[in-house]
């Protein structure tokens, strides 16, 4: 579904991704782990099309399309979803309004009819139950005055509504207490599906206690140094990242 080959990217003069390779198949959950500054969030941003990141080399193919050639909104409509590490506040814009606009924007290219206000409300209420969110969220400004946990829940609520083919979750676990983490993780787990791939970008392995990945990759200095299964994450937790780097050097 997603194929990243020899990806190089930089912000200004600073090179961040230096030849990253990754293959993600439908139905799979991949965890990308790594120390601070290794390029995890850059990878997520490049996949979603954020400005300011210059791709200097490499290809990203998504469902047979050249992902990097697409505008951010085109990627979203094609089924790519990014759950933000720091969801931005948009004062005065009703959360429900944004959700409905987003939902209809991704439904149109899929050939689905637009939902009217009633159909939308019924659907969003059902999804909000899943995320244990209060209905008052709908009438607040987008992320306006939300706590850290509320913002992350809101992200996963959007994912549940938009039903992406490829979801990239950028440090969705950061800043969450253990209860919020459980709710968010349960939400994500319920969205696992045979035709959907999920890429979890995370610093800590604790998220993986709740969302069990099929593959774990270690990202360091802009490259994937090691890949493995669930046990790799546990080993990283015990031993840190240094040994992976040492190993890579020796090899």
């Amino acid at each position: 579904m997603l194929s990243i080959r020899d990806l190089h990217a930089r912000i200004g003069e600073r090179k961040i991704l230096k030849g990253l390779n990754l293959e993600v198949g439908a139905g799979e959950v991949h965890a990308i782990m790594g120390p601070n500054g290794s390029g995890k969030s850059t990878l997520a941003s490049v996949l979603a099309g954020r400005e300011g990141y210059e791709v200097t080399n490499g290809r990203v193919e998504y469902l047979g399309q050249d992902l990097l050639a697409m505008e951010p909104e085109e990627r979203a409509r094609a089924g790519v979803f990014l759950a933000f590490q720091y969801p931005v506040e948009i004062p005065g814009v009703n959360n429900a309004y944004l959700l409905k606009a987003a939902l209809n924007a991704v439904r149109r290219p899929r050939g689905l009819p637009e939902l009217d206000a009633f159909e939308f409300l019924a659907l969003v209420r059902e999804k909000m139950k899943l995320m244990q969110m209060d209905e008052s969220f709908l009438n607040r400004g987008v992320n306006e005055g939300f706590s850290g946990g509320e913002k992350k829940r809101n992200e996963i609520l959007q994912m549940a509504l938009l039903e992406p083919r490829l979801a990239v979750l950028d440090e969705t676990d950061s800043g969450l207490d253990i209860d919020a983490l459980r709710v968010v993780a349960a939400g994500v787990t319920s969205l696992r599906a045979p035709d959907r791939a999920i890429v979890l970008v995370t610093h800590y392995q604790r998220l993986l206690d709740y969302i069990e990945p099929d593959f774990v990759h270690v990202l360091s200095d802009g490259q994937i140094l090691k890949s493995g299964d669930r046990t790799l994450a546990l080993e990283l937790e015990k031993r840190g990242y240094d040994w992976v780097r040492q190993e890579a050097k020796v090899a």
């Binding site: 979603a48 099309g49 954020r50 400005e51 300011g52 505008e71 951010p72 909104e73 990627r75 979203a76 409509r77 979803f81 990014l82 933000f84 969801p87 931005v88 948009i90 004062p91 005065g92 814009v93 009703n94 309004y97 944004l98 606009a101 987003a102 924007a105 991704v106 400004g141 987008v142 959007q158 938009l162």
Partner: protein, 481 residues
């Protein structure tokens, strides 16, 4: 997403939608202004003696005045002798009903989105349509008449209700008030008059569409709204003008009088031609709007959405004379391309326990310059007065400007005056967030701008809130791209 020159090209490529000229034979005076012109205008309109005297007094005073230069505006000199002061569609007798109105005129309104029939039928809005200087059609007169409400062209009111005109005209904005108000008092040709008698709640929204059509004509309309004790009225004006290379002058005066327990809500959606991307052409909009809460517990509320005009000089104000009276000002002002807006309000607190609220939202894009200028004045007599002011500016791109000049004169120690101000840019983060949810950049900009303006839009009558949102969307097409 960040504003590059190419994006700005896209921004300025957007065209003014209402730029068409209706080809109708006009009865237009040659350019120039002296006492003879004023006498002629007054005679053409069949005015009583007191009106002519008032006009001449205003004219003589105007000659002693100088144009104000304190606003944050760059204005090319205006040659007042090159303007024609009267232009009326040529017709022997005034139309008695819509059927008699020149179909071309009606078609013009159609293009503007003011189909009289539709509007009348669907929205229940009575429209007093001012085409250049003479009102051509007034709907719903009968239903209003039954309620005792007078809603008619100003010139009709001068003929049919001279005692009301003589009593209230100039009682809030005197003919000596300022340069443009004095000019208006001397040469105004038409406008609207509203009178809501004691205890009457006006059965519908009243609405006037103004449009400047003939070339080189200034439009000087005059609106007077009087709400007697305990009455309610909501009034909306919408404005557009065709595209022309020359600048056109619009110097209007609006006076509102609210007696005890009366409420007046006055809403404006202004979309005069703003000029092209290089600042050529466009309306000079110099308008004096003021309301007086003359009686106790009265309320005057101004809501304006200003998206057009090359230059806007406009400060809808409230004089809060009556005890416990309330003044409100809600404003969205947009300055795109080379537009300049210097707008705001004055709240003059005279009576005890008077309250005022000011919410101003300025949006600057392109090379637009947007200025909020406001005065909150609490006189010694205004025991317990309150004011709350909120002034927010939104910038799009890096060649525009936002300026805020809040003045406060507090002469009573019991007053509580609050002022909040913010300036923000549409953040790339906000745009990216929306786009990554599948929403196009243009829709995202609209969404964010509308969110910014929400506190003002919710004050507009429902059917016009939608119109205002659409107008803003059109005016900002490609503003960030």
């Amino acid at each position: 997403m960040s504003t590059t020159p190419t994006d700005l090209d896209a921004l300025v490529a957007q065209k003014y939608r209402h730029g068409f000229v209706t080809d109708i034979e006009s009865d237009t005076l040659p350019p120039g202004l002296d006492e003879d012109v004023i006498r002629l205008v007054s005679r053409k309109k069949g005015e009583p003696e007191f009106m002519l005297d008032w006009r001449l007094k205003a004219f003589r005073h105007w000659l002693t005045m100088r144009e104000p230069d304190w606003a944050h505006l760059r204005i090319a000199p205006i040659d007042y002798q090159s303007i024609s002061y009267y232009s009326a569609p040529k017709k022997k007798d005034g139309p008695k009903s819509l059927e008699e109105v020149d179909p071309k005129l009606l078609a013009t309104y159609e293009k503007l989105g003011v189909p009289l029939h539709e509007r009348a039928r669907l929205a229940g809005v009575a429209v007093d349509a001012v085409f250049d200087s003479v009102s051509v059609a007034t709907t719903f007169k009968d239903r209003l008449a039954k309620a005792g409400v007078i809603f008619c062209p100003f010139s009709d009111a001068v003929r049919d209700h001279p005692e009301l005109i003589e009593r209230y005209l100039g009682s809030v904005v005197p003919h000596t008030d300022n340069y443009f108000a004095a000019l208006n008092s001397a040469v105004f040709t038409d406008g609207s008059f509203v009178f809501v008698p004691k205890g009457v709640r006006c059965p519908m929204e009243l609405s006037t569409y103004f449009r400047i059509n003939a070339a080189n004509t200034g439009q000087f309309e005059r609106t007077l709204v009087v709400a007697e004790e305990g009455s309610h009225v909501s009034y909306l004006e919408g404005c557009t003008a065709p595209m022309r290379d020359e600048n056109q002058l619009h110097a209007a005066v609006v006076e509102l009088v609210a007696l005890s327990d009366a409420q007046i809500k006055y809403s404006t959606v202004q979309n005069w031609y703003p000029g092209d991307e290089n600042g050529v052409g466009g309306i000079y909009n110099f308008v004096t709007k003021r309301g007086e809460c003359r009686g106790a517990n009265s309320r005057i509320s101004w809501t304006q959405v200003e998206t057009g005009s090359a230059i806007t000089w406009k400060y809808p104000s409230c004089i809060l004379t009556g005890e416990n009276s309330v003044g409100e000002f809600y404003s969205v002002a947009l300055a795109n391309h080379c537009q300049q807006a210097d707008t705001g309000t004055k709240m003059i607190h005279i009576g005890r326990n008077t309250r005022s609220t000011i919410v101003s939202k300025g949006i600057s894009a392109g090379r637009g310059q947007n200025t909020y200028r406001g005065l909150v004045k609490i006189l010694p007599s205004a025991e317990g007065a309150r004011n709350y002011t909120q002034c927010d500016s939104l910038l799009m791109g890096d060649r525009c400007g936002a300026h805020t000049f809040p003045y406060m004169e507090i002469k009573n120690p019991t007053a509580v005056v609050e002022h909040e101000a913010t300036t923000s840019k549409i953040a790339d983060d906000q745009l990216f967030y929306c786009r990554s949810r599948g929403i196009s950049e243009e829709d995202a900009v609209n969404m964010i701008v509308n969110g910014f303006c929400k506190a003002v839009f919710k004050e507009l009558p429902m059917e016009f809130a939608v119109e205002a949102q659409n107008l803003l969307a059109v005016s900002l097409e490609g503003a960030v791209g």
